[in-house]
Amino acid sequence: MIVNEISPDQLSTGKIDASCRVPLLALFGGAALWLVVGLLLALIASLNFHMPEKFANCPLLTYGRVQPAANDAIIYGFAIPAALGVLLWIFARLSQTELVLPLVPIVAANIWHLGVFVGIVGILIGDSTGYAWLEFPRGGSVLLFAAFLLIAISAVATFGQRKERELYPSHWFLLAALLWFPWIYSTANLFLVAWPVRGVAQAVISWWFVDNLIFVWLALVGIGTAFYFLPKLAGRPLQSHYFALFAFWTLILFSTWCGIPQGAPVPAWLPALSSVASALTIVPLIAIAVILVKTVCGANVSCKGGPFCYLKFGTTAFILSGLMLIASACPQISCVTEFTWFGPAQTQLQILGFFAIVMFGAIYELLPRVMGFELPFPKFVRLQHWLFMLGTVLLVASLAIGGIEQGLKLQNVGIAFLDVTQATLPFLRASTLGLLFLLLGSLLFAANIFVMTFKWKLALFKSVIAAVKAPLETAEVKS
């Protein structure tokens, strides 16, 4: 099963997995909950396109609040904690050592989820900062930042204890992600929220942050995770380490410069530079695609709706989302796609189609090992895979096609603006259906995680009771 690690004996692997148990449950439990909440909020936001009058009197549920709350619940509530949990486990496994400071991530996970709660409530009551993907008010952001650092400490300490000094490719991607997030998150919060800079410099920093969070950070963690799990699941080594190193370098060098929209009211060198960087992002995309194809093809493993399917679908979605990003940064295409639903389509594909699905695959693969027993509803795994595939395709395809049509019509001045927006309605309504499938899928995920947690707690409780009730050993009984 384990390809990349040197002769792990079964006993120590079990111990390593067990050391991650409580931190991972704390991270994944909250993540599952926030995913359901986030998709529910997204569904409510989407309902506005069916009945705009519905939430007229309710400030909490107005589109402009629910939509960012949904986005943030999914990215901060689900994506990042799930990523950190998977990262901790991969680090422990690769290091062949038990998790160092296991208490720290447990505490940090709770701080993190508290921070997300504070942030989501803040957005809904109108305390948003007004910056996309950074809407959490200060209190929430501070908690998130502190929690991330704590988890990073535990992860880096575990990394430092590794027995094999040579690094595995996943190490590069995941270590980079550990440094990446605190850097971009602190920069964005300091310059946009704490001591805001003047004028459009704010917008440039905000775009830089969004690109580095949604594209680069998710890519680093998602691809790092895929590079760990795919070889294991396919039963073949990663093809090859040198190519992965090349993909890593080009990814962090080029794609960190994307994200400035072409027509933005900023000095022209900014979008021009961003456009060049986006075009160059094709290099890491091709490299990653080649690695994935060479690693997966020829593997004699059928996926049967299991983690292997998840990882294959997720990584394919990443390539597609990268291509969409490159396309929308090309001036000839961006004049149509800018300000349309094409942008949200790309973001949703990146987050739900690529990242979330890779995380599900990883979690379904690692959780039974960590817990020491099988998933309570193994059939849900396959069902959820179908629901997520269907949901993502519906959501992303309808938004993307609707966005292109919207863009073409916006360019045609003969079509009145209201007619342009009316024409997008069927697509938006189809996307609601996609969200519904995704929500159902996320419920299955939550069911597996929560029942598993409950079973474990029950077993723990029983063993405690048993220990209390157990008759004292005769040796201890004083005569």
């Binding site: 948003s128 900062t129 004028g199 060098l253 007619d419």
Partner: protein, 267 residues
């Protein structure tokens, strides 16, 4: 790569360079920006928004208006229009020229040729610079948005999605405060087919006191409150409208020149 330090170094180089490029450099270039002046005039631009409008931007932020509206007009380029300002004595020749020559959407050279011809015939002409592009043709602005427009705004309300129309110049496009309030209360009543959700929580329905308030909304019959009640905009609604009305990009700047309407109206 041998060790963790090397990975950290790689990350530091990659992210550090883009940090310098997209955080530090824009701040150095734009962070100390000052007021500029309107083109061919000594008027300062932009002027700080009024207190109400500044508070209104916070209502705009809290309600998440930027989720559906952009505040950035774009333009493809500029063109020249030749405008007749006086016919002169040779009326027939000039009117003949005006009806035969192409006078709108010209390049600089074409405009020079056209105005030369008309001047020779005795007519008086002016060459006007106009912005071109889909946004301009939709009437969303007279020029594109530029960095100067946002000097005093926090948070930056640029937006990225046009579910609703662009608002960069809405104060000049739809300057009627009552229309704006009515539109917030019941968008479909003034803009048929609009997808905008109503913002009725920015209003309160209250019992009419001694006399109905002059601020009360004049609602159409089907939306009117029960007899004896009136719909009043809250302070937040008034601030939001003040902000919307303060959104005007209708003066030419060095970065985005055009010939203002005031000159055009002279003909």
């Amino acid at each position: 790569m041998k060790g963790g330090a090397l990975v950290f170094l790689a990350t530091f180089i990659a992210l550090g360079s883009s940090w310098c490029g997209f955080v530090l450099a824009p701040e150095l270039q734009l962070g100390t920006a000052k007021q500029t002046t309107v083109l061919n005039s000594s008027d300062a631009y932009p002027v700080q928004r009024t207190g109400d409008a500044t508070l209104g931007l916070q209502v705009y932020r809290a309600s998440g208006c930027a989720a559906c509206h952009t505040e950035q007009v774009q333009q493809d380029g500029v063109a020249c229009d030749v405008v007749l300002t006086g016919a002169g004595k040779n009326l027939a020749a000039v009117s003949n020229l005006v009806s035969t020559l192409k006078l709108n959407g010209l390049t600089k050279d074409e405009a020079d040729v056209a105005s030369q011809k008309i001047s020779v015939a005795g007519g008086k002409v002016e060459t006007h610079i106009v912005a071109t592009g889909a946004d301009i043709s939709r009437g969303w602005g007279l020029r594109c948005s530029v960095t100067e427009d946002f000097l005093y705004d926090y948070p930056m309300p640029l937006g990225s999605l046009r579910v609703g129309p662009d608002l960069a110049n809405v104060g000049a496009r739809l300057p009627d405060a009552n229309w704006q309030l009515l539109h917030l209360y019941a968008p479909q009543s003034v803009a048929k087919g609009s997808m905008m959700p109503p913002f009725r929580y920015l209003f309160e329905t209250r019992k009419i006191g001694n006399a109905s308030s002059p601020d009360a909304l004049q609602l159409p019959k089907e939306l009117a409150p029960p007899a004896g009640y009136e719909v009043m905009p809250t302070d937040e609604a008034k601030e939001l409208v003040a902000y919307l009305l303060s959104l005007r990009i209708d003066v030419p700047l060095y970065d985005a020149p055009f010939t203002p309407r005031a000159f055009t109206s002279k003909k």
